[in-house]
């Protein structure tokens, strides 16, 4: 349901409709891995970002990162670095770039690109194991990326 709603909005965007001010995944311009301009006109909400980061079907960031502020969610992984204090030593633009497509900052990173819709090998339909039908929506929407970035900015003096 969510997914079907999402696809038209992405299409509408790339067609240039000026409803909500959003940058479509294909139009994102990285500068040294960073993204200066927010992906949506609506400000990110750190509370929503927190939920996205611990939700399996969304960011599931804790699968790979330990984050003290999210300690109520069980079992943080350690494939990626611990993120305490990341809001201190990374700029907002860097964080946005990393969450949208970490490979633009860290070449060959195992961290998935959360705002990317093309260029996949054997893309699947979610976790069904079946082939994707048509172009995939990004794992996170523009607004969800902004929400996550807003939460990451609160991770100071770790």
């Amino acid at each position: 349901m969510r997914i079907t709603l999402l696809i038209p909005s992405v299409l509408a965007l790339s067609a240039g409709t000026a409803m909500a001010e959003m940058v479509a995944p294909a139009d994102v311009q990285f500068a040294d891995g960073a993204l200066e301009t927010p992906l949506t006109s609506d400000a990110g909400d750190p509370a929503r970002g927190k939920v996205i980061m611990t939700t399996r079907s969304k960011g599931n960031c804790v699968a790979c990162h330990e984050i003290s502020a999210l300690s109520e969610a069980p079992f943080h992984g350690n494939v990626g670095p611990m993120l305490d204090g990341v809001g201190e030593y990374r700029t907002e633009a860097e964080l946005r770039g990393i969450v949208a497509n970490a490979k633009m900052t860290f070449e060959g990173s195992v961290m998935p690109a959360f705002y990317k819709t093309t260029g996949f090998e054997r893309p699947g339909d979610g976790y069904s194991g079946k082939a994707a039908q048509g172009e995939l929506p990004p794992i996170l929407t523009a607004q969800e990326i902004e929400d996550v970035v807003a939460f990451l900015k609160t991770l100071k003096d770790g």
Partner: protein
């Protein structure tokens, strides 16, 4: 302020607990008090530029899970070995034959060492065959019986019966000669980043074994222990069933069990375990 200090302390504690988990443990696997299993070995030559040591997945499991494999009375996989022993002796198909008709009543004689060298090149067929393919070839062409579904319960059970006859013997899969092309194909698949998450087998099982993805302690993804009884689904799991699950978890379209891609991948992954003991049926979570 106080709260912040506390959080930092607990974070440090969690961090060190994570570190303690980071590597394979030091436990030794001895089954039934006398069958010593090699769970750690020097990496085969073809892996020398990526790792020094190979480990069985057993070394990454909790003590509770490990213990279930140390005694055949505790290993739920052994029930299926018994079931397959019945199938071994039952005539099926148009020829009125059973496995025993050709291979004798005692598989511990005819099947010793078989698991250790599969997948293997079959010169007559001109292809690399997995154990499952060979079992089905016998069923169809010797017995005139229906093939088992590739990753079905009866297939997993028959594989367990055959694997157990090689327990403790070193995996020794041939990768050269006529098998080389299939092996190369499998290797390419191992390093291909699939799905929307863009992860390859190597990303998880070569770059990150010992680390945790959420609550999962990543092993090297070795297949010396297959078929595997998993506590999670309470059944015997085949190699291709596991591959399928791992590929699905990258948000990819999987290959099918028994497909040429998975056969090639199995040959390659098996060869990464050359030197570990055959361990099946093993127990994992």
């Amino acid at each position: 302020m106080k709260i912040k200090v506390l959080t930092a302390v607990s974070a440090a504690l969690i961090g060190s607990a994570g570190l303690a988990l980071a590597d394979p443990d030091e436990d030794q696997l001895v089954i039934n008090g006398d069958l010593e299993i090699v769970t750690e070995a020097a990496a085969p030559d073809h892996l020398s530029d990526v790792m020094d040591t190979i480990y069985s997945g057993w070394r990454f499991r909790s003590d509770e899970t490990q213990e279930l494999e140390m005694d055949d009375f505790d290993n739920p996989g052994m029930i299926f070995v018994d079931q397959a022993m019945d199938s071994w002796a039952s005539a099926e198909g148009s020829e009125g034959k059973s496995c025993a008709s050709c291979h004798g009543d005692d598989p511990s004689e005819s099947m010793a060492g078989v698991r250790a060298v599969y997948p293997k090149w079959n010169a007559d067929a001109g292809e690399v065959r997995t154990l499952a393919m060979q079992i089905n070839d016998c069923r169809e062409n010797q017995m005139g019986a229906d093939a088992y579904k590739y990753d079905s319960a009866p297939m997993a059970a028959m594989e367990a019966l055959i694997a157990v006859q090689s327990r403790g013997m070193p995996v020794n899969v041939a990768i050269g000669g006529p098998a080389a092309e299939t092996w190369e194909q499998g290797k390419a698949l191992y390093y291909t980043r699939t799905g929307q998450l863009e992860l390859s087998c190597a990303n998880c099982h070569e770059d990150n074994y010992g680390n945790n993805i959420r609550s999962d302690h990543l092993s090297q993804g070795q297949i010396n222990g297959f078929p595997t009884y998993r506590l999670k689904n309470a059944k015997l799991n085949t190699v291709h069933g596991r591959f399928k699950g791992c590929v699905r978890d990258t948000r990819a379209e999987t290959y099918s069990p028994g497909s040429p891609e998975f056969v090639a991948l199995e040959l390659y992954v098996a060869s990464r375990g050359n030197g570990l003991s055959v361990e099946g049926p093993s127990v994992r979570n």
